[in-house]
Symmetry: C2
Subunit: 376 residues, 2 copies
């Protein structure tokens, strides 16, 4: 085993420059309750890009050096620096989740039991060749499951389950999902089909609609067609969905969904309410595919809400007890419901290749990269 390993770092300077580089760091010695994972698979999720690239203008990125000494720099708009105050001039490791082989283990029985095993973990800094973790923070993968198959075990599966769970906990009986042909969206369809939850999928092209119908989706509406609004209202009347999870954020879509929900509710209303229907309509925004402002045209009464939704606060809210069954379900259905599909597997230095950045930074539906930090 080598003494050092590479770790991807993102730094935004006070003067407004993003710098991506690979740091050479010592392979750590585990304490009694710790293990060292040789990371073999870690995905690039949209939720990683905020830390990795920040608000930098990647179309103006410059590359210097080569191999492990490669560096990418790009300008960060000065207006955004205030919001980044707490990370400025700090070299930040990146990567939410991943999987690999336990190559060193501390003296405790729990740590020793993991030696040689393929495990998944979550907690940042996974874009690295070696990662030190507590044994209790590692999830051993079932026999026959590869690191690549277990790499995306956390963010997407728990986000999708978090959506149906939030739906139930907040008293709704069906849900709407946008950018619905994404990896996450396909997972959500599998969950909803399995659990009998009506799901209205909003997609942006006929190809995406076809893809979802192919995996059994019943309600698919295409926002690129002229009949979008009416199709959406009809699907909402049929399903009774009053909560939506929106990956797009900017523009008018959130407002259009609330309007369609209100119309669908009023179609079955018996009495006029001067303030609109009293049934609460909610759109949670969990992504930012469109970073333009959200535009809300309020023609849906007063019983509405729009807000941010994020996995971590949701998990904190439901606590260890609420999380247990969700995590167990992911492990049980890792090769079926929660299978991820990747376009390409790249090395750490390839993460810094502008041609790759241009692809994964598009956050395009269906494009998903997996990093193997130990790829030769």
């Amino acid at each position: 085993m080598p003494d050092t390993g590479l770790e991807l770092r993102s730094l935004i300077s006070k003067s407004g420059t993003l710098e991506l580089s690979l740091a050479k760091v010592a392979v750590p010695e585990p304490a009694d309750d710790q293990v060292v994972i040789k990371v073999e698979a870690t995905p690039i999720n949209p939720s990683d890009l905020g830390l990795l690239l920040g608000p930098a203008d990647m179309s103006s990125a410059k590359v210097s050096g080569s191999g492990d000494g490669v560096k990418v720099t790009a300008p960060v708009p000065p207006s955004t620096l205030t919001m980044l105050a707490a990370r400025l001039d700090q070299s930040m490791p990146v990567g939410n989740e991943g999987a690999g082989t336990v190559v060193k283990a501390g003296a405790s029985p729990a740590a020793q039991a993991l030696l040689g095993k393929t495990v998944s973990t979550v907690g940042g800094a996974m874009y690295a060749q070696y990662r030190l973790r507590k044994a209790s923070d590692c999830m051993p993968l079932p026999a026959g499951t590869t690191a690549a198959e277990g790499a995306s075990w956390f963010v997407n599966p728990l986000t999708a389950l978090g959506m149906t769970e939030t739906m139930k906990r907040e008293g709704h009986k069906a849900l709407v999902h946008t950018a619905a042909a994404s990896n996450l969206g396909q997972m959500l369809n599998k969950i909803c089909l399995k659990d009998g939850i009506p799901l209205v999928n909003i997609v942006r092209s006929p190809e995406q609609a076809k893809l979802l119908r192919g995996i059994g989706a019943k309600y698919v509406v295409d926002s690129s067609t002229p009949g979008f609004h009416d199709d959406l209202v009809n699907a909402l009347v049929e399903t009774g969905a009053t909560i939506a999870f929106d990956a797009i954020g900017g523009g008018k879509l959130a407002s259009q969904i609330l309007t369609a929900m209100e119309i669908a509710i009023n179609k079955s209303a018996k009495e006029y309410s001067r303030y609109g229907s009293s049934i609460h309509k909610q759109v949670y925004i969990y992504g930012g595919l469109n970073t333009a402002p959200i535009e809300l045209t309020r023609n849906y009464g007063q019983a509405w809400g729009v807000g941010g939704w994020l996995l971590t606060p949701f998990l904190q809210k439901i606590g260890r007890e609420g999380q247990g069954p969700l995590r167990q379900r992911v492990v049980n259905e890792l090769k079926t419901t929660f299978a991820s599909h990747y376009t390409k597997t790249i090395s750490l230095s390839e993460v810094l290749d502008p041609r790759n950045i241009a692809v994964y930074n598009k956050r395009a539906t269906g494009e998903k990269f997996l990093i193997n930090p130990n790829k030769a």
Copy 2:
């Protein structure tokens, strides 16, 4: 006592015309547990205007007839009719709250006890000369309190108390209020001063700022000045307010408030969070002074929410038990904390005078009309 009384009616036809008129209706006979109130004071609140005028274009209003036979008609934009489906072609009585003298009472002791008393009530159809109510829905005013003093006992006082109550129940320690020099805003200042709650008042002119400072407001920021953003951030740092109640709705203000809250929170943050601060920031929109779309520029992480807030659902949520102390406080402080000020007292037919409509429909800060349906 006459056999009939006048009652103001609002009707929107399927063909898209608003018609305001005065109906002549029989003065009802009370059942055992009912009373008849001769209504002497009932305010025109912004919350009444939605039912009274709907989305009609009042600049194109036409008047016909005169005296009690007066009729006002105005066009309603066809695009809004879908939302109004449940009220179309129905003659709707109007008026949320009011006060007057009990002139008839049913046989029950509770009803008889109210005979001759000045009482306040809430529940719609108050823009009428006589109103039938259950005795238990009437609140006798303390001796020496006039109908005019007790007319606005419900909507504004409970809305203002609902704001500080919501703030507490949702775990915030200070609040922001917009259009803060309104009748309601002045009440809120009195409540917050009395209860020691830090309140950030956002106003739209130096005159309004002066008015609020005159009644003891400590934090007043004026959105018409170039220093607005910085002043707001400073006030949020000092108060720690993370919830706002916004009467304006349309435009960028809600988003500006969330941005300023995030900056204020980050000023004291010790660690960078890639998703922005984890402290939830909330803007509740309870009015629509600006009916333009709300524009949300998300530079405040994921822990945020924007939504409608309305008195009735809030009261339902806290239940009778939660409401008791709030209602009692209003009665106790009717001439102090909860005193309302009116620009003008008008008759029912004067409500239909286009010159008056032009004034009360502006919803201008400081302009508030009181109706005396029995005004000679």
